[in-house]
Symmetry: C2
Subunit: 848 residues, 2 copies
Amino acid sequence: MNEPSADDVRIEEGPVPTGCGRRPPAPFVPGPLGPDQLQDIDAYWRAANYLSVGQIYLMDNPLLRQPLDVAHLKPRLLGHWGTTPGLNFIYAHLNRVIRARDLDMIGVWGPGHGAPGLVANAYLEGTYSEVYPDVARDTDGLCRLMRQFSFPGGIPSHASPELPGSIHEGGELGYALAHAFGAALDNPGLIVACTVGDGEAETGPLAAAWHSAKFLDPATDGAVLPILHLNGYKIANPTILDRMPETELRSLLAGYGYEPAFVGGSDPAHMHQAMAAALDGALDDIAKIQASARGGETERPRWPMIVLRSPKGWTGPKTVDGKPVEDTWRSHQVPVAAVRENPEHRAILERWLRSYRPEELFDGQGRLIGRLAALAPEGERRLSANPQANGGRHPQPLRLPDLRRYAVTVPGHGAAAAEATRVLGTFLRDVIALNAEARNFRLMGPDETTSNRLDAVFAVTDRVWQEAILPSDDHLARQGRVMEVLSEHLCEGWLEGYVLTGRHGVFACYEAFIHIVDSMVNQHAKWLKGVRALSWRRPVPSLNILLSSHVWRQDHNGFSHQDPGFIDFVANKRGDIQRIYLPPDANTLLCIMDHCLRTHDRINVVVAGKQPAPQWLGLDEAARHCAAGAGIWDWASNEGEAEPDVVMACAGDVPTLETLAAVDWLRRHVPDLRVRVVNVVDLMTLASRAMHPHGLDDPTFDGLFTRHRPVVFAYHGYPWLIHRLTYKRANHENLHVHGFIDEGTTTTPFDMCVLNRLDRFHLALAALQATPRLGGRGDHAQLILREVLDTHREYVRRTGDDLPEVKAWVWSGGQAPDPRGTGADIGPRGPSEPVRPGETVDGWTIVS
Amino acid sequence: MNEPSADDVRIEEGPVPTGCGRRPPAPFVPGPLGPDQLQDIDAYWRAANYLSVGQIYLMDNPLLRQPLDVAHLKPRLLGHWGTTPGLNFIYAHLNRVIRARDLDMIGVWGPGHGAPGLVANAYLEGTYSEVYPDVARDTDGLCRLMRQFSFPGGIPSHASPELPGSIHEGGELGYALAHAFGAALDNPGLIVACTVGDGEAETGPLAAAWHSAKFLDPATDGAVLPILHLNGYKIANPTILDRMPETELRSLLAGYGYEPAFVGGSDPAHMHQAMAAALDGALDDIAKIQASARGGETERPRWPMIVLRSPKGWTGPKTVDGKPVEDTWRSHQVPVAAVRENPEHRAILERWLRSYRPEELFDGQGRLIGRLAALAPEGERRLSANPQANGGRHPQPLRLPDLRRYAVTVPGHGAAAAEATRVLGTFLRDVIALNAEARNFRLMGPDETTSNRLDAVFAVTDRVWQEAILPSDDHLARQGRVMEVLSEHLCEGWLEGYVLTGRHGVFACYEAFIHIVDSMVNQHAKWLKGVRALSWRRPVPSLNILLSSHVWRQDHNGFSHQDPGFIDFVANKRGDIQRIYLPPDANTLLCIMDHCLRTHDRINVVVAGKQPAPQWLGLDEAARHCAAGAGIWDWASNEGEAEPDVVMACAGDVPTLETLAAVDWLRRHVPDLRVRVVNVVDLMTLASRAMHPHGLDDPTFDGLFTRHRPVVFAYHGYPWLIHRLTYKRANHENLHVHGFIDEGTTTTPFDMCVLNRLDRFHLALAALQATPRLGGRGDHAQLILREVLDTHREYVRRTGDDLPEVKAWVWSGGQAPDPRGTGADIGPRGPSEPVRPGETVDGWTIVS
């Protein structure tokens, strides 16, 4: 084997790439790398580049031991070369500093389509073969490595869960920095090297995420080192951040709060030295910042970052068919494409591959030569093997308090009132307190923790904030378990990064605005789905999304709070990933959230109101009901021995309230109507078992909803979802769903229900209309209901408030109006039947 | 009437607000306002503030002619005071410069919850009473104005379509700047004053939108004047942009490319002078920039902007219950709340209201005094009456070329191949050319115009770009109809602003990433819904969203292209707003897009592939098919006289291809199976007529799908949508939908179909399984199909490509394989039967 010569660091002689328009590089400065180091790091880079090109093109002849032939080439050329050499360059340099400083570091790679490079590096480090023994460190393994890339039955062309060391789904751009900061939180020893592509940097979520440093405590959190990779072009266009004047870019990044170091050029020797120096400088700065903060300094630091300006498709073909390729948008995907048809193209490819001199990099068995292999960090220090990126270094389950402490005492069904999220807040307060030492729980929200009435948490923690704090500020501090920023994207992204590194959390959001993160939740679901097939991936805590200030309570926001369709969106995800809960009151909310916080690898969506509302179930009843997911509320039904005339079903807190009020009315006014009340707390129980593991089997479903009786179903969201979940059920034809429809605007909660025909009077009407056997009595009752609706409309438009009898209604079990009025029993709670935390009740664990 | 004295400009004496932490204001500079002007503008501001507070609190006694009593107060206090006085302040100052400079200006108000102020100003200008004569300019009208705000049957608490002069739905934050820039495009005489709240400024979409100036041509577009309003607090937290060091904020805004002028403080006199001076300076700068650009300068300017730092809840109660309110987060919504129960609170409110001295502002009839009314601009110069904000100043329909020019010649069904979006590109090219002079069409996309094969447009236009342009760049220019930025948020927001001011456009997006703008589309749908009820709102061109690179063609992106659920999202919107089209080939795509570009006030979603594919319909057939929305393809069916054994239905280009291939296979292998082919191009024809105006009536639906025969339905998206659209149809029980399910990863298109059971073989299997009458012949055919599927799986995993017979398949009408192969006839097209542009064909106009 030839030792590399000093020339090796220049891959290919030629003119400075045309068309790149780059400012001339800074004058060469002798860098921190000695001559051997320089040669070695360049050779390592060449090896990664070689394997990257091989993955895009080859399905055989992996080391070019034979002349390149059509038979060696994949029939379909897929993958993105343009960003890849830059990622390989960064990776090689991160390896150096990890070794030199024994760093606990992970990488977040924004340009996810650079997967050929990331896979190549995981392979060079040996992790890939450890995880996928088929892809061994020999010639056959090399062949498999190349062949599997973007090949049927193989791996996707972007960074995906299959990539060891990744916590970042590389499909959709925009979330790298938020993920990186989420991973760094409460990880004081961790450095997250986050590469941000200049394409991604144009997205909104990424643009906002630079401010994340204002929420990162250098004393107790880890560090994020952003590496803004300017390779100048997207698919067909230059990028904004590359093309804007460098003075403006410096100003922008300084404005975001960073001290950027610029590394730019195309000459490898120069670039290696400059990158090494920049990394050393940045890591020195991080160490200083952390030492200072951990010594008591509380002023927000200006964090270092690196701006790496390198040619797109660096070291790739300079020209193809006479057109410039390297350093232009033409190198974005497959820079030379007609390699099967066009011998000239094939020759370009072969020259390109051989320019990396694979014969110097891999030995006769196809193994990376020892001198280069020794450059990678070892064991868990490898970027591809750091346990932080696989479930966390020391993942711990949350310590959860006994739910009894928070349960609302319900002396009789409906005979208490509470604000469900306020009760949940007391539970979350103690979750935070119990796990204060473990520092593994965060509550994210866009400035709405108090608005969503979770503010009990501020008894034990604060909102984290690194800018100035004034005396009049409310629970702001340098450290805190609550993170509030007016960006749903950041809340979601931080929490994803946090749970993907093994910690726990809840994102509490107004229901109306959760659609902002649809596509992020999409990406997370895709990640979780990918993980299902990978036995080596350790579970991560579930992503818990609490939706409050929901669509039925637009009181303070008029028609801005609309669209309960996030549920529909999540319901389209695979059944083994998503859970949707609609707890009807505080105790069911407690049980559901307690459960969600114990789960892994899921997206749990919980919808719960924050307004005072009647409480239906004691804690034990609530636990049993949640365990079953759906059930008959005998205490509200009067079906007797025969099948009921009508089933009144409900899912959601307001629908439950209105259904019970309708039932109460019916039982008082039409006492011989036999009504069954079914409440659904776990929405996916409605689906078939084939579609969702929580789906009830048909006999159980029919036992609840009957096979032939009319069902009036009051549902929190768009009614069609109930139809689509139940379309295969026997009784589907008799289902009358009342849900949310995009109509009009109103500002009293009950009027909102009337508008959507989800109010008690319309529900009672629907029940009567569905049971013609009542004859005249039913007709008379319908007349009364229509009159009440007219009265309501007149009253609410005159006074601006709901009818007093609506506001004052309490459940009477079909008896005379209860004189107690509403607001009873929000106060202290007495003991209730004990439920041990974690106890398995009635199949709860079976259905989950 | 008393003339205001010099003291008037100080609303209330008192200490500098505590807790605000603001830097001391710059030393007082004598400003551009003379003493009278200063007094008048302050009085105007007081009038707006008074009406704002009145809207939040009062339902009677609008001018406080009587002492304030509980009966005058609304029972439910809703609305957001905090941001409102700042908006009123800006509004008053914009009025001054509009008059002084005769400006064509509209406002975009990011802090949409400041609607009390915006409504107050529209009322003060008289527009409100012109539009809503009930809300007259007298005491009774004042009472109605206050009462209706956030009151049942009234108006929402945020800026909504009901607000004259607005083009910006004020519910969800983040899109103000993008809307403003969209409105300014191709409006060279227009200035859009865009107020950005410091809460909104934390969102990702807003953070990205600052870069919009890099796409705005000062020579041919109008100007956007951003006014960043720092009032310091969100609901419960300080804001990032207010609390960060001012040096960093200046650096950030300079980095975004602006020259900010800072106006800060709380003393009204000082603030009036400073704001007037800043506005004069900014408008002078805009005039200079435009003159220079229109004189030939091509360097991107640094646009002016204003940073207005004023106390939150400015002029409101300083303290309530001993706690500071003004200039803290406590003034966010209703700063003094218990006004009905607590006489002290009520007294605070009364003092607050009277501090504006309404008796000096309104005359005995409740009319704004003449001297103040004269401060507002007149007629169409009023911000609330500028026609730019109501359908555009001179809206013109698009000139559309004759579709025949672009039609693919289809000598026989399936006997041609084309790339649908490439054909569409030629049509869009000529749309651009025909409307070049009108400058009223834009094509938006995140760097994907070429990737989506619409690049024919570059024959007549360029991508607009104001940064440096290099020789190697591809169709970048200072002016251009194509706008590309790697931010779906910006593409969507620009287009919304553009169509809301009366112009036309298409947003072409990868299907996988359109979920990024779910919530923006939500807001636009909400806007269009609101508009429906307002006869004074003029129609605006539809928002056209073209989804390509769709979920069935993941070739170049592996599993990153996933989730066809945007269709589900849009299908939840109201039927009179949304349209969803799945044209199966190029000619249907032409017809659909031609149609969409003629429509108004809708969201049109069109899904179309970009890969070479068989072409089914000639242009005339395509026009008729699109007009019907769904129809039987007789030429593909062999049902004969009797009802068919099975209906093979399809919606989407790949589903159509696979269905026809399945039918072809069945007709060749099981010739006595009677098959009907139904193609659905307008998805909402499946819905009931009650749900969507395009819904087919039941007899027509049954005529297509039969009442009792099995239907195998191949659908582009998640299969459940088809079930939910059809659950009330007679034949729903017999519907077998094959669609997209989140499963696995693969890289050949056909393998993708197999994975989802949407391929020809699975569809043929399903047809056979649904028709047991075939007996042994059917069983035998099923055996063959299962073998083919095994063969396919083995082949694709070995070679990385689809089976040759799959790739080479062409429609044979159930006859022997056609020797022509695939790629036929992409080339020049011959004449076909003429269709006049705009012609009404077979009820097309009826269904749309």
